[in-house]
Subunit: 192 residues, 2 copies
């Protein structure tokens, strides 16, 4: 073991993070391995020392992105106010305009739905971890129902942000985000 113990691990993490940004910006299909490696300060050949295939990378990127999202969420207060802050920053013009730094689901969800089951399995598991974090801030007792409510809330947030990104009418997009916040907050207090 000649190199420092976690040199390779650190490089791998650099690739995963570079790929996260690149995927969210250009899409999974839109981003090539060579571009990702270049972003990470490496060349394409080195890729296969770290991952079996691009699909292997995709699964690892999604898991990493969701863990980061969960970690950032954990930095918020662990009650309703933290959830509110999360919603407001999620449905903000900044988040809309900085997709490379933003939520992987908002950037990639329809593409994720087209990935192989193994990849979607990883996504599902890690997403549910985020969802359970949301549930913990809802202080509800009915576990299963709270989970689907949290998923529905998240669906609203993802869909609204994607719409805001697709619309060319800036004013309309801003209005949509603002209305999305109001609607999401309403769902917190008053699920269907």
């Amino acid at each position: 073991m000649r190199y420092s113990k976690d040199h390779k691990q650190a490089t791998r993490q650099r690739i995963v993070q570079a790929a996260g940004r690149r995927f969210k910006q250009d899409g999974i299909d839109g981003a090539g391995v060579a571009t990702v490696m270049s972003d990470a300060g490496l060349t394409n050949g080195a890729f296969y020392a770290h991952f079996e295939s691009k699909e292997d990378l995709v699964a690892n990127v999604l898991a990493d992105q969701l863990r980061v999202q969960r970690h950032d969420f954990d930095a918020q207060p662990s009650d309703r106010s933290g959830l509110e802050a999360f919603i407001r920053s999620y449905l903000s013009p900044q988040h809309r305009d900085q997709c490379a730094d933003g939520c992987p689901s908002a950037a990639l969800l329809d593409e994720i739905g087209r990935r192989p089951a193994a990849t979607r399995q990883v996504f599902t598991a890690e997403l549910m971890s985020v969802i359970d974090d949301i549930v913990s801030r809802l202080d509800r007792t009915d576990g299963v129902a709270a989970r689907t409510d949290a998923l529905t809330l998240f669906g609203l947030m993802v869909g609204t942000l994607q719409l805001a990104r697709a619309l060319t009418d800036r004013d309309l997009s801003d209005q949509l985000l603002a209305r999305g916040v109001e609607t999401a907050l309403k769902l917190l207090d008053d699920p269907a």
Copy 2:
């Protein structure tokens, strides 16, 4: 003018529809021109007699898909019950499992957000036509606010369906769809 007057127009339409299905199934970046032409019963070379580029096709496909969606929606009763039927069929397991025949926004929205402004412009214009159809069934007087409410409702539907497609847990996905219907219907009566 030797060929029947609208022969080329009909062929073009066939290409647009084949591309619509293919894009929704494989993604825009995931579907090649040759595959689309093959689906339409043609070969790749004929493509450029009909479209300037793939991006030109994309814009035409999105416009066509949204017009079809609007047309189908118009077949529903022009009151609240039509909207309810739309929501129920949208957030159904069938729609989740048949994405090639389904809503273009649910299948492609995050990719649309990454297309050039000209393409997004076409999408925005045609989507607003669908949105205004929703608004007309809300019997509300406040035009602008009703539009953002309709967009928010649509965002909820798109995001929920995308989530349902990405999750590998079938039961959870079904529950999410059911909860999405309840939540969407609630938003109809009781916007934030």
